[in-house]
């Protein structure tokens, strides 16, 4: 990629981000009530989206080949267990990541 192509690539990422953040404020301007269906979506979507993002991170895992997704599964289990135990975001993320790094570097 040339520098210009890199600038364009980052530029469209900025454009995409700003669009998604600003659009609701542009569409539903101040002083008008938000439609009921949009209000419902606002409440129903976050959980679905976070579920989607977790699966998205695992998109390259192949259950039938290589390590069969075992390091990912164990890493997530450790993250979840730490989070259930202490409920400290930083600790859960650090612990799960460290565990995964050790697994892919030393075991698998």
């Amino acid at each position: 990629m040339t520098l210009l192509e890199q600038v364009v690539t980052v530029g469209v990422c900025v454009l995409g981000t700003v669009t998604t953040r600003a659009l609701p404020f542009l569409v539903f301007s101040e002083g008008r009530p938000t439609p009921k269906f949009v209000q419902y979506l606002g409440k129903a979507l976050p959980a679905a989206i976070f579920g989607m993002l977790v699966v998205y991170c695992l998109k390259n895992v192949d259950l039938l080949a290589g390590s069969h997704g075992l390091p990912e599964f164990i890493g997530i289990a450790v993250t979840a267990a730490l989070h259930l135990w202490r409920r400290q975001m930083l600790l859960s993320i650090a612990g799960g990541t460290l565990c995964y790094m050790l697994l892919v570097q030393l075991v698998f």
Binding site: V8, G42, A47
Partner: protein
């Protein structure tokens, strides 16, 4: 007049800062990881610095590293950015009321509306006598600065690293697992969380690893629209 304005700012700053301390820890950790990830991918620190300051969206910035290492495809990059960031549409919808009448501050509040800033500004109880606009502006600004400085330091210090960073990108997966769990704890019923996981997994298996995000979003939207009645009837969605 100037003294009064300063007083308003300082009290808002003092009220806002404690709320952002956990974000400082999280953003420095993730920001560092992102900066290091860019560094080991062969980019100078200018990249994490400028990308974190302009995009200001953690998950997309990680994905952008892959984009920069792939053949030039701006339309695909824009679509992916819109898909990954689409959830912000709903943060915006939730903040329509709170960001009303903020004047010039509104531009930065909207620009910096990431997951964490949204969570604080949406839920924090601003102490009495503290200006809400300045409070939310400082929350947004602090979080923004944590992320940009973390990413830059990671980009600078990454070259000093001597240990093997293979698997470091798992930090992103772990972050989403934790956010997913936090959302799960907040909700009494888990229909929408399950719709998200099942739709995505199904689309990933049917469409393969490279083109399943758009079908997934369509599936989720349709499922939420189709099952609106039972979901609303069951209740239990987080506010």
């Amino acid at each position: 007049m100037a003294v009064k304005t300063n007083g308003i700012r300082i009290s808002a700053l003092k009220a806002a800062f404690p709320y952002t301390i956990p974000i400082f820890a999280g953003f420095w950790f993730l920001g560092l990881a992102y900066g290091i990830y860019m560094n080991v991918s062969g980019f100078s620190f200018w990249y994490p610095l400028l990308m974190s300051a302009t995009i200001f969206g953690g998950s997309l910035e990680f994905v952008t590293v892959t984009m920069l290492l792939s053949p030039f495809a701006p339309l695909q990059a824009l679509l992916l950015a819109l898909m990954i960031q689409a959830r912000h549409l709903f943060y915006g919808i939730a903040m329509l009321d709170k960001y009303k009448g903020m004047g010039w501050k509104k531009f930065f509040l909207i620009f910096g509306l990431c997951d964490e800033t949204f969570s604080i500004n949406c839920t924090a109880r601003v102490p009495e006598g503290v200006d809400k606009g300045w409070f939310m502006l400082f929350v947004t600004l602090f979080n923004y600065l944590y992320w940009v400085t973390g990413a830059t330091v990671g980009g600078l210090a990454g070259s000093l690293l001597t240990f093997d960073t293979k698997g470091l990108d798992f930090v992103m997966t772990a972050m989403f697992v934790v956010i997913f769990m936090e959302q799960w704890f907040k909700e009494k019923k888990h229909y929408t969380a399950l719709i998200g996981v099942v739709s995505t997994a199904a689309c990933r298996f049917v469409c393969g690893p490279n083109s399943f995000l758009i079908p997934t979003m369509v599936c989720i939207f349709c499922a939420l629209a189709l099952f609106r009645k039972p979901i609303e009837k069951a209740g239990g969605l987080a506010q």
